[in-house]
Symmetry: D2
Subunit: 312 residues, 4 copies
């Protein structure tokens, strides 16, 4: 286990889960993906998130991912684990399993399926934090999936209570993210980590005080995000912007698949996996059942976009 | 196991799951609730649905509910089980567990959390039907929770393929429901069951050809829904409307709780449970964690609404 | 002017506005459309509503529609006029113009474009009612266009204050509509008119107590809606349902146009106008600029649907 | 009339419309507001936009605003006019009126109330541009009000055709805004102006290539936005961020009013007007009918927020 007392920062890609054509977890490809990330210079990895198709996997498959990742990373960077499920009790079971696997941090969404109230979401996080003990809990704000936006006031309150160590903001709402950064400063909560989940506004977010990024596209180009982060923290705004612009265009791989025959998740995650497949990192680009996979023509159409971005 | 070759029809309440103050399943209260339903004349029971807080319960708790229900019902009416989870693989695990418990039907939503496409939802149902074997599968159309409306064309296609034996429509979209009824007739799919999940438009829905109702409020007043169904099928529209109007007003118990301090689920399910508690059917009105429970004043305020509806 | 003391009831189609190929109001076709409606037996006509493309027309064009309609109807049935605009002051100008033209009722939505609060919507209706004097004001509840649902409590409050004489409910929310009917009875507001704007749930709505219907499809088949209304009020539920089912299928004309190249308004209103053109009632099926018109193949594809419904 | 061949850039506040207690346009206060803006160093003014309550005003009131503004500005900076209405024909009438008043640019939204398709929105802009002649047309992308997001591809196509000279993006979607900037560069459309309508992400937007800002809050603090713009264009990111952070906190004046008794528009515009009233710029802080005005306590609560921001 890595040192978890340090604040989360930098580039922490939400790893995809490579699958075999039979829909089993492909641990060999997962190990290669992890080495690809470490070589790229990432500051941590996050498994079983939305990009990791955590909600598609059985409990047993989730455990395989956790154990493979902890073993392969071998303490070089922190391993964060998504423990995403519908309710406190169900997430609690995932927390226990993740702790047993030896992860360094837990990433928790609001309860979903049932409609909940901020006061209920607060109860959810408080109870899970007591289960997690010394392992830091991160709030995962993803209203497009969980159906509710975590109010900035709730995130701050949980931070002040010491319930959560940080937040991953995948809301796409820059104003709310900026409010969080300003309020953190005013509250003196310097150790609280604020990470953006957006692939395409990283230079802006770092400029106004966000600590790092959890980019799905970082699966395909971890080194690019590391360069972007380094340029931004070195104060070279022009270089950061140029790198961000390049990654913005690379992100267009998610638009290659035909949306009239598959969902948005399938198109985006299928593109990340196809990119990794074309780069020789993973064996099979299939997404989790029942997602429709990209066909050969769609996979082939991703190659020139990788080339344009300088990825070979 | 009851005879499952018959088409689903009539009143099939989605049972709440009584809990102890420690958030365990209260099997004694559940047994009493089942007897209350059977005495009320219901045509089936549906456990682990949205009203049953299925997504809040651990796998172990779900199994307790299934086994208790199958034992208590003892074949007098069909037992339907919700197998609600985020993906095909995860639902599949619940299907196996429910089949082992001996249920008579399985109720399945679209995958959720991840965004999916109708073609992916179709794959989801097809694979689950093959797992279910002879036990009928019912599609559960609940866009407010699953995030997507099952298109009428998809439901019909699944019916024609023999993948699903019926649908529970909790979409609240009368037009879509009516289209389904018309299309069923034109396609000659007479054995396909169409049930509404709405508490307050049952007389209308039965009048235009729906087969039955799965009313959350039926927990509290099963006999009322049975009278409504009997009046409608006997062609006594005035009696059906009067009964529906009475139940419409009883449904106002869901507005008693203070929505500024709890979610809509908590307010509605808390009201059903409070009603059952006041009627002496279940011991404790608590809803699943992290839901905020109704307070004493809110519970007391439900009593006059029960009285007005003639429930003592 | 017809007797406006009587409560609105029955079939009151929202007339389309026939246009010339140059986008002028085609008063000759409008007169023919009105005669077609009167021959069909309608209880009133409603011009400059959503179906009437009122918000597309200039002030001068609106006035032409009003004057042509009042003259052609000649007091045989009430003429209702939409006075739809963004704010109280702007609607007020339309109210003055409509009163000058001699209409029998005014149909008013919530303010739109700017976000408003129910208390502000109340002020809007109160001021407009004082402008309207003795001419009855009807609330037009169309959240899909005005961006806000009129709360049932607000509609009832305005009814009790005598501000509005009725409501046209185009919300598609059966539960809210039914609540309004129940509350009207309990409040003793028998003279308050509740009309549904849904084409496809008329038998149900009449069965639970709604007074009439304002069906866009009634442009094409006024006599069908009159038969449906007569059957329902005579207590012949089977005949009403059969008529509704036939009209449900006729309503599929709105799905003929290619939605990938035009908006939903264009497809629906274009279909109504194409139907009227094929039936010889109006000369040109064009919709208001900038709407894309149906092409010849789309217009031709509407003919068999008219035939199937028995319209020649 | 100012030189309109130059590209729009810098700070162009969307002016509120000061009203008297009787809801007439207060031309004296409007003139003072304009002088306050010019003294603050703004690069243009935009009247009759959303902040200007254009959709609340009658045609006559709109004309008073246009003529007062053109006269008071006297060619020192460009005057942009909102010509916001539901359809092409209705907007066309406003275009004619605005041209007669001598404005330097026209700001046009998508048609609204009726649902439209991008191909129809394109027809709308093309026809209006031909009406506008040499006066530049700007697209106003405000999906929260107009109900539809202008696709980046449509904006670019209109730019390439020379139909529009720029866009005001009030969508709050940073990703879409950034895509527009990138695509503009790739298409070589350097003269096309991209302005953000967001008050709180200006430093970020300028850093990635946006040309300027149209901030509602600029009514209250034009000089602050000018300092922010100047710092950003001078490459002093830290100073730009500090100014943006100060303005972010000042923007909290929109949260002072009680949202349980008024709409969001009323609260925000009421706060801008109250701020201007407290600063002695306008006489009466009332918003347009039927908006509920801020009460005395709410107005008083804005004073300390002005003080904190250094505005006296």
């Amino acid at each position: 286990m890595s040192d978890t007392s340090a604040q989360l920062t930098g580039v922490v890609p939400p790893l995809v889960t490579p699958l075999t054509p039979e829909y089993d977890v492909d641990t060999t490809s997962l190990a290669r993906l992890i080495q690809y990330q470490l070589t790229g210079g990432v500051d941590g990895v996050f498994v079983l998130g939305t990009s990791g198709e955590g909600t598609f996997l059985t409990d047993e498959q989730r455990q395989v991912v956790l154990e493979t990742t902890v073993a392969e990373v071998a303490g070089q960077v922190p391993v964060l684990a998504g423990v995403i499920d519908t309710s406190t009790a169900r997430v609690g079971a995932h927390v226990s399993a993740a702790l047993k696997a030896g992860v360094d941090g837990l990433v928790v969404t609001a309860p979903f399926y049932a409609a909940t109230h901020p006061a209920e979401i607060e109860r959810h996080f408080v109870r899970l934090a007591s289960l997690a003990g010394d392992t830091p809990l991160y709030a995962y704000d993803i209203p497009s999936r969980a159906g509710t936006k975590l109010p900035a006031s709730l995130v701050l309150s949980l931070a002040e209570q010491g319930v959560i160590a940080g937040v991953k903001d995948s809301s796409g709402q820059e104003t709310s993210l900026r409010q969080l950064v300003l309020s953190r400063r005013e509250a003196g909560l310097d150790g609280f980590a604020i990470m953006t989940g957006s692939e395409v506004t990283v230079d802006s977010s770092l400029a106004f005080g966000v600590d790092g990024v959890v980019p799905g596209l970082g699966n395909v180009d971890p080194a690019g995000y590391v360069r972007l982060f380094d340029a931004a923290t070195a104060g070279d705004a022009a270089a950061a912007r140029a790198e961000q612009d390049r990654l913005f265009r690379l992100f267009e791989i998610i638009n290659v698949a035909d949306r009239s025959r598959m969902g948005a998740s399938s198109a985006a995650l299928g593109a990340f996996k196809a990119g990794l497949h074309l780069l020789g990192v993973i064996d099979c680009p299939i997404t989790a059942y029942p997602c429709i996979p990209l066909d050969e023509a769609e996979i082939a159409a991703i190659r020139p976009l990788l080339d344009r971005a300088g990825l070979h």
